[in-house]
Amino acid sequence: MSEHLPTMWEEIRARGYSRRDFLKFCAWTAAFLGLESSGIGQIVHAMETKTRLPVIWLHGQECTCCSESFIRTSHPIVGDIILDHISLDYTETLQAASGFQAEKCLHDTMTKYKGKYILCFEGSIPTGNDGVYCCIAGKTMESILEETAADAKAIIAWGNCATYGCIQAAKPNPTEAKPVQKLISGKPIINVPGCPPIAEVMAGTILYMLTFDRIPALDGQGRPKTFYSRRVHDTCYRRPNYDAGLFVETFDDENAKKGYCLYKVGCRGPVTYNSCAIMKWNNGVSYPIQSGHGCLGCSELNFWDNGPFYQHLASFPGFGIESTADDIGIAIGVATATGIAAHAVSTNIRKRKLVKKEVDVSRIKNIEKEGGNQDA
């Protein structure tokens, strides 16, 4: 085709951004991606030479908090360039087109950029009752996902919904909601969990793919290593209080005012992999722990079912709502102690004769001379 596709730099310039703004944006991106300073040059080069990859952004069963998070990235170029273009390709919540027109957009993008587009998927996919719980244009979400995934270059699963199923998949999961990785195989899937994911994490992931045209380094669970390799706990500013054993006991105590560690009121920071404590939210203003509430573990599998949120360990699966491992252990321990006591009593009744006989015998007769031993 003779159509000239503008490079990303050309698009940015066309929007009225100066070269300086553009370079700042590249430095910002490199910083969030955790690249070394030579990475800035690579990003500049990539933006100047590459055309933007087409993106299809689908919404399954979700609350749109991922999109909401994304449009709040701290750099305007992300919104202006990436989002505007995404909306040109296809995304239900932001696009201008609707109805047949919208469907046409989707199919045009799919055929024109076959095997080249990135599929972003937000939300989970209901599979119960033939998927009736989420249909668009008469098609179930599952079939839409399968159709669009077939020719995608890679899939980004946004948020806990698309990665693990989130609240829709929480017990009892009435719609039998499933995440992308349970339904699609044979395509690279980048999981970006969180409820929602941090705006900069989303921007960083997609910008990496758009600029370098490759998939960022992923961990064993398909999450970009840059953002998900550390626990919130390892980078938390309240950590010195944890190490010193200074804990908030209740949310209204003196310790809470002093900003002690929230471990005992259920903070999930020690079991949650995310960048909240480093990047924070809303342009680096704060994050849950900083505002006095423990981490809920929103980027972890089944975090809704791992409650109660305000208790250190989750209640134990299969037992009462608030029964911890300790309650179960103590109950079994008491039962054991009772059993032992009963056994000791019954031993003295039932084995009494036997023991007595042996005691008597040993009194009368001395034990014979020692024999050698067998193994020494």
Binding site: G220, R231, D234, P240, N241, D243, A244, G245, L246, F247, D253, E254, K258, Y263, K264, R268, P270, V271, T272, Y273, G297, E300, L301, N302, F303, N306, H312, L313, A314, F316, A325, D326, G329, I330, I332, G333, T336, A337, H343, A344, S346, T347, R350, K351, L354, V355, K357, E358, V361, S362, I364, K365, I367, E368, E370, G371, N373, Q374, D375, A376
Partner: protein, 231 residues
């Protein structure tokens, strides 16, 4: 049987087995105590600044230090199960002979039902105890894998990262933690029953079960040894 009972002493537990046993006991004691504290730290209401203290960090450090000792002691015992004497061998832990199953039934009758029975043949572990210890070995392994799996996230060393696979397998750190915590109770309850039964057998059989883990010797009826030297 009103005649004399003559006992012979038999060297049952070799030094490595005894050392293993007591190191293991110490480790479990320390790991359970520190582990419990990690899960349920004290409530301190004071106005200390964080930089003044490190007690919780120290508790965790002790947990991790003993975790390494526990693990390598365990590995050593696995090895010794191949090279030790016949009482230390793995065959005692994994029932594979008809007599072993028969003996398990017998032990249940003696220990739980407390019906009158011929005294136990076993000199080392009886078969039921053997299988129980085998189960505890599996729990040791589980506790080590989950422990080092969690530890991998806080360490740059290669060794804990060998266990990192357990975390995604169990569905994330939260699950690993709950199970690791629950298993602490297995150790506590096991220890209660174990110590009781040692006292019980010592009392009922008079073979010196308690002291055998100290000096290695047990006292076995002479006739028993003559009748059955192979067991």
């Amino acid at each position: 049987m009103s005649t004399s009972i003559s006992m012979r002493r038999v060297y049952v537990w070799q030094l490595p087995v005894r050392l293993y046993h007591w190191i293991n006991a110490l480790c479990i004691l320390v790991l359970a105590a520190t582990g419990y504290l990690i899960g349920n730290p004290f409530a301190l209401q004071n106005s200390a600044e964080a930089y003044l203290g490190y007690w919780f960090g120290t508790v965790r450090f002790i947990h991790f230090a003993f975790a390494f000792l526990f693990f390598f002691n365990f590995v050593y015992r696995i090895y010794f199960g191949f090279v030790g004497n016949r009482f230390a061998k793995w065959g005692n832990f994994i029932p594979h002979k008809k007599e072993q199953f028969a003996e398990m039934l017998q032990v249940l009758k003696i220990d739980i039902l407390q019906t009158a029975q011929a005294p136990l043949k076993a000199i080392g572990h009886n078969s039921l105890a053997g299988v129980t210890y085998f189960i505890t070995f599996l729990i040791f392994l589980f506790q080590s894998i989950t422990g080092f799996g969690m530890y991998a996230a806080m360490s740059n060393s290669w060794f804990p990262s060998l266990f990192a696979w357990i975390v995604p397998l169990m569905g994330g750190d939260a699950y690993v933690r709950v199970w690791h915590h629950l298993m602490m109770w297995f150790f506590i309850i096991f220890a209660m029953i174990h110590v009781y039964l040692v006292f019980y057998h010592d009392y009922v059989e008079g073979r010196g079960t308690i002291s055998s883990m100290g000096g290695g010797w047990k006292f076995i009826e002479k006739e028993r040894l003559e009748k059955d030297v192979t067991h």
